[in-house]
Symmetry: C2
Subunit: 651 residues, 2 copies
């Protein structure tokens, strides 16, 4: 025997010792496949089910019970008894545990019937373990049954097996497919993929970089397909969409993810943003009605909620930025509540000339109690309103005037003030001041309104016209979805100059940044202000807001290269605009047609639809707040040798 | 006047001077939108069309002619004459040029009628330029009309406006949507998005890295969703798919792209790969029939091509790896040709004991001419066959035996040889040798067969049963799509040890790598060889091959954590398998059910369908061979300051 052969023989013996047992391993690949899901079984049928054991089986000397959960998250009791179940399976079930994967055959028996509720069980004739679960399954089983969200996040696969998550990801799949079919079949759109290895254009959010194997050359992952889709408009496509992955390397508080999905659309040869809105509403109404099995609502001319029943014209009302800020203190108001801010400038003047508008918000029927959350500074980003419980509806303001917190206006009239606020003893009143055109968003009172709605859901429900044409405020607002379009945003903001500790925000009113992005067209009637007073210019931008959540935003774009250059160079003072956006200017200057578009936040849309506050519930493998995927444990270190190939090294 | 105010006034005057002309700019946003596409117009109708001018208008003193191209790539002549067209538009058309974007209204006139071919023109009553094109449009107009692919690639938007590219990207959109609807509606799949910010698992191709804002922590862009989809199988989803972006940082010769798209699928609780195949074939047959308007073909039991007419059972025949290599010299044979390799081991023995099989390929009806491409070394990756033109069909071999290129086998018989090869004078014969189980793929003769088919398309067409049940070889093979499943691949390859200049490839037969990936299950009947002779083990892998192109590949996976560990540790010798694949092992050990899947190359599928040899034709913005996007000019340099945030610096 040669040395090599001896070594091979030795190796073979060693390997044979290591190789898992043949019989038990191969048994995991031979099994009867499911004939049914639990939903589709009928009593007395002989069937096979595949799934996981939902709990550790209860093994008794006479009969044993197990519980199988199928891929829909439905469960059925398995009965193993000596009369029907071969002995080997009675033995086998003893060694099985929660979350083992099994194939079970037998016949369906009616266990008992309560009213119309038939409960069935499966009498087992064949029981096969397709894969065991490790000890963690048993350890975590209690959590799984009490609250799957409490499972350690590295066990995402255990969470995902539960009915809630199965439904949530399946719903997401259905929504994506419905949106695609609406866009393609109803509106003749084409889905076009744009590159994810894009170019660094450091405007807006921080981008992820991707090193290349050329010294100091990097791709960047796109924050959105915005620039490519505008180039597509110049490429002759008239109706583009894409359900697109986007990336932002930003802090992950506030239920954000470094990668997220948006429904991205763009249309050319349109001369009104309503043409975009109609397509979007067709999506929204259909998604809610067909998949959510819930109607959508609009605010009608009487300021009441009514169901949307037609999808082929703009249904959601338009709300101007200025009006939204004045009435609700935010550009994404939740219209389910009738709470509105009241402008008190007739009665009071503000001490701060940059924040001259004095306004109030009254909470009625709260028995004079001020919940802590409404005054907790942590709930406000900077300043907060003054919140008081009303004892004397006539004289509440006096101490604030005495302390010079506010001053009386020349035309002040106490009874008119009381009438204006409709104050009663026991109401809670919040007041604050704001700028004429606020860049604070939400304003202190806007945030107060949000917190109050949150604290008292359904308390100040807006009047709703129900199916019987009755007007009611007695409804569950968590099942009511009210949309609106917010329009007439300022095209530019002044650059904020205030620092962390400042009471009031401050701005440099001679330096501008785009409110949304630099490609948004000005309202045509505001064109002249582009040279005289950029901050007065309103943009052709529109936000879709549902229940206080900004679901999407879009605009008519600048398709004129000269105007786009003017915006870059003269207003935004981007000196290297040709390096950053030259490709876009070239594409525009090649006879690019007029175009407009929108992007919808797909993760948020799906989360709203399943009634979850977190987009993590509709993402299979979300990153945690440190950007870590707890399942695969990314990101990781990389060998220096690999970095070298990319001409980079660790700092 | 304060200094600040003076400065503001000055700035306003300056800005006003820079702001593009108001009237002409705003005119680009006010225009009549299209009432029709060119395809839908009827004679005498009054209509509006939007589109680009396909050429520079011909301006005459009496009448002018222009040509409008709409978004479908269709064109129509525009007639501007003083009788119908207002004077201002007659003037305007003089200043317009090719690729200007326009809105045109008027009435449709029948120009003339040839047989059934009615040609119409639009008599212009309103003509509006929505955006001018720059001078490059005129400069490049000739190229655009002769061959859009010759346009400089930075003008991709001009290419994309042409009918070919409009059709190609629109077809791609239709294919994606059809595939989604088949998987969701016919087969109950869910589309689930998996992360693109993944973990570096340096097996296989080179990955793109993504630095994070933590020292020495990187994400990697995924080469495929393979690991996440297996974790999804452990998460209780039974039918997953995703049309997924994937990334490989490899050399971009050979029509590859650093980012590409695949149709990725996985099914759990299945016990045969046919269950995957049936779903895939449903896709393939439907895509070809419904979108390509072409049938698909199978090789029937008589070795002839016949149309596939049923989609609900496996139709494409299975071809074993060994047989594919023996008959066609490659694991992805193009079955449209009847050319087969002939094993001559009965007649000859090879000088090289590691490559003992002597085989030949005969080209008939080529009049003794050997095209240069068949002998050009550049067309072969390493060694090439000996190619001769046959003068004497009986004695051609003699000089090779004399020169000891080959040796006569003991049982050599000249007349049997001639009969075996069916040789005639004027045939071209190629012969070479190969290993018993070749890891050279293609073998020299396999490559020869490819080159010969390429050089003589349709010459050796396989017999085809046509609609009238007649057998014919007289068909256009570019319209015939023949699929097959290639199976029984070796699960492992020996590590190749040969170097660039070597005549023959050489291997270290004691070190193994996965032929496809380390998650592929062994054929159950080969289980024992996992410890005794890993190279003998065949994998439960299947490739879908259409017309010599590997359209997809998949396998049944290892769902047993112990077996997977054995493969990692004992066979592949991956010592740090827990760092790289621990997440997968954990997911498997949590009762992960048996599963199998496949990935289809979506770009290639679309390119085949539109009859293009290049995936660049079905990608909106492909990278060039240097990985550069010529439209946006990525990748780019990044400021050191930005790199610092990512704790990296340039080398």
């Amino acid at each position: 025997m040669s040395r090599a052969q001896f070594f091979r023989n030795f190796l073979t013996r060693y390997l044979r010792a290591q190789l898992p047992n043949k019989e038990s391993t191969l048994a995991k690949f031979h099994f009867p496949v499911a004939t049914h899901t639990i939903k589709t079984i009928k009593t007395d049928e002989t069937i096979t089910l595949n799934g996981h054991l939902n709990r550790k089986p209860r093994v008794r000397s006479s009969r044993s019970f197990a519980e199988l959960r199928d891929a829909n998250g439905d469960t059925i009791q398995l009965l193993l008894d000596p009369e029907h179940t071969p002995l080997e399976f009675l033995e086998l079930v003893k060694s099985s545990g929660a979350e083992d994967s099994v194939s079970v055959s037998g016949f369906v028996k009616q266990k008992h019937q309560r009213d119309n509720d038939i409960e069935q069980e499966l009498v087992v004739k064949n029981f096969q373990i397709l894969n065991n679960s490790n000890l963690d399954a048993a350890r975590l089983d209690k959590l799984k049954h009490s609250n799957p969200n409490d499972l350690p996040p590295q066990f995402r696969y255990l969470q995902l097996r539960t009915k809630f998550f199965q439904n949530s990801l399946k719903t997401r799949s259905k929504v994506a497919n419905l949106i695609r079919n609406i866009l393609i079949n109803n509106h003749d759109f084409d889905e076009i993929e744009t590159p994810l290895l894009f170019k660094s254009t450091p405007e807006g959010a921080r981008e992820f970089l991707v090193p290349t194997r050329s010294p100091n050359l990097f791709y960047a992952l796109p924050q959105s397909p915005q620039q490519y889709k505008q180039i597509l408009m110049s490429s002759g496509f008239t109706k583009y969409f894409q359900i697109a992955k986007c990336f932002r390397d930003e802090d992950l508080r506030a239920d954000r993810q470094p990668e997220f999905t948006q429904v991205d659309m763009e249309l050319s040869y349109i001369n009104s943003s309503d043409q975009v809105g109609i397509v979007v509403e067709d999506i929204i109404h259909n998604v809610w009605n067909k998949i959510g099995k819930m109607p959508t609502y609009r605010v009608n001319d009487n300021n009441m909620l009514e169901k949307v029943t037609e999808f082929d014209s703009l249904q959601f009302t338009k709300l101007k930025y200025r009006d939204a800020l004045a009435k609700y203190g935010i550009d994404k108001p939740d219209l389910r509540s009738s709470l509105e801010l009241v402008n008190l400038s007739k009665f009071f003047t503000s001490k701060n000339p940059d924040f001259p508008i004095v306004e109030a918000c009254v909470l009625k029927n709260v028995e004079g109690k001020i919940p802590k959350c409404l005054t907790d500074s942590n709930n406000y980003s900077r300043r907060k309103p003054i919140v008081i419980s009303i004892n004397d509806p006539n004289t509440w303001y006096k101490k604030f005037v005495e302390k010079h917190v506010i001053n009386l206006a020349p035309e002040f009239d106490e009874s008119a003030l009381r009438a204006e606020l409709d104050l009663e003893s026991g109401d809670v009143l919040a007041f604050s001041n704001r700028a004429e055109l606020p860049y604070e968003n939400p304003t202190p009172l806007g945030r107060f309104r949000q917190l109050a709605m949150n604290e008292f859901p359904n308390k100040w429900n807006r009047k709703l016209v129900d199916d019987a044409e009755n007007v009611t405020t007695d409804y569950d607002s968590s099942r009511v979805f009210v949309g609106s379009w917010v329009v007439d945003f300022p095209l530019f903001n002044p650059i904020e100059t205030s620092e962390a500790g400042d009471d009031f925000p401050s701005y440099d009113f001679n330096r501008f940044e785009s409110t949304h992005h630099p490609f948004t067209m000005a309202k045509l009637e505001d064109f002249d202000y582009l040279s005289t007073d950029p901050l007065t210019v309103r943009g052709e931008h529109y936000d879709l807001v549902i229940n206080g959540v900004e679901v999407g935003g879009g605009s008519r774009r600048i398709h004129d290269a000269e105007l786009q250059k003017y915006i870059f160079e003269e207003i935004l003072q981007i000196t290297n605009y040709n390096d950053l956006f030259g490709h876009l200017l070239h594409a525009l200057s090649m006879g690019c047609p007029p175009h407009a578009g929108i992007a919808l936040g797909f993760d948020r849309l799906c989360a709203m639809l399943i009634g979850s506050p977190s987009i993590r519930d509709v993402i299979a493998f979300p990153k945690n707040q440190s950007g870590v995927d707890p399942v695969v444990e990314s990101p990781t270190g990389v060998p220096e040798k690999t970095l070298k190939e990319y001409y980079i090294q660790n700092l």
